[in-house]
Symmetry: C2
Subunit: 124 residues, 2 copies
DNA sequence: TGTCTATGTTGACGATTGTCGAATCAAATG
DNA sequence: CATTTGATTCGACAATCGTCAACATAGACA
């Protein structure tokens, strides 16, 4: 019960910054390690339900959305929670509890980093 | 045995053009069908080996590469072929046999389409 | 305290995926 | 032809993934 707010817990979920990760896929062959890190990001968006959840949060007014606002994607509530966790672990979303509800918002830096991976021009 | 080359077979591999597919993820919530199609593209790049193969082809001089040039990614040759097929089916790569070797090249339109999905500005 | 609502976690299940060895196909060359 | 080399297909296997029902947790409120 005593919710001691002492320890910062140095990253409870290993958001593993993906932003300054890897060069555009067209620049040079990815190394094994780079490919591993990059695949982790794409994997997070390689599911229809996660894409809908992510898109719902990303396009929501104010840049954030409560779970209750976006959980209408045709799967059970535990499944929604499971997918949101995966998006969090991939560093694509962050969550914050405010009172009754939990709000999710996108990390623009990570989104931009992924966009750069697929860019054809060299406008890094 | 009689390899009759009569039927064009109208798309042997369903390249399913992904280019004019879906709006940026931040624009509006994706529909179920849009999410399904988009996920298919991300899934193609959601594997380290496929990422390395794709990156190797995309960055190769001349825009195309023979399988023999890129198959040094730490897995067996059948596995390489398997992943290249997946990339082909996703519409990300095209292949062409010229004599002894098979050459792969990227489809820039598809790559650009994926980039747009992750764009934050509205410069469609 | 107790109850209600909103999310998250656990455990289990079937489905999909990545991998390889063996067999097969395709082109070149002897 | 037969052989060699490059590439794909087939068949099987372990590992991962998406899903749900059941349970647990966190606030709000009476």
């Amino acid at each position: 019960m005593s919710n001691t707010e002492v320890l910062p817990l140095l990253e409870p979920e290993a958001p593993q910054a993906v932003a300054p990760c890897c060069p555009p896929l067209t620049e040079r062959p990815l190394s094994a390690e780079e490919a591993e890190r990059t695949a982790r990001m794409f994997k997070a968006l390689a599911d229809p339900v996660r894409l809908r959840l992510f898109s719902a949060v990303a396009s929501y007014a104010g840049g954030e959305a409560c779970v209750c606002d976006i959980s209408d994607v045709g799967v059970s509530q535990p499944t929604v929670s499971h997918h949101l966790k995966k998006l969090r672990e991939a560093g694509l979303l962050t969550s914050e509890r405010r009172g009754t509800w939990v709000y999710y918002r996108v990390d623009p830096a990570v989104l931009a980093a992924m966009g750069r991976l697929l860019s054809t021009d060299s406008a890094a």
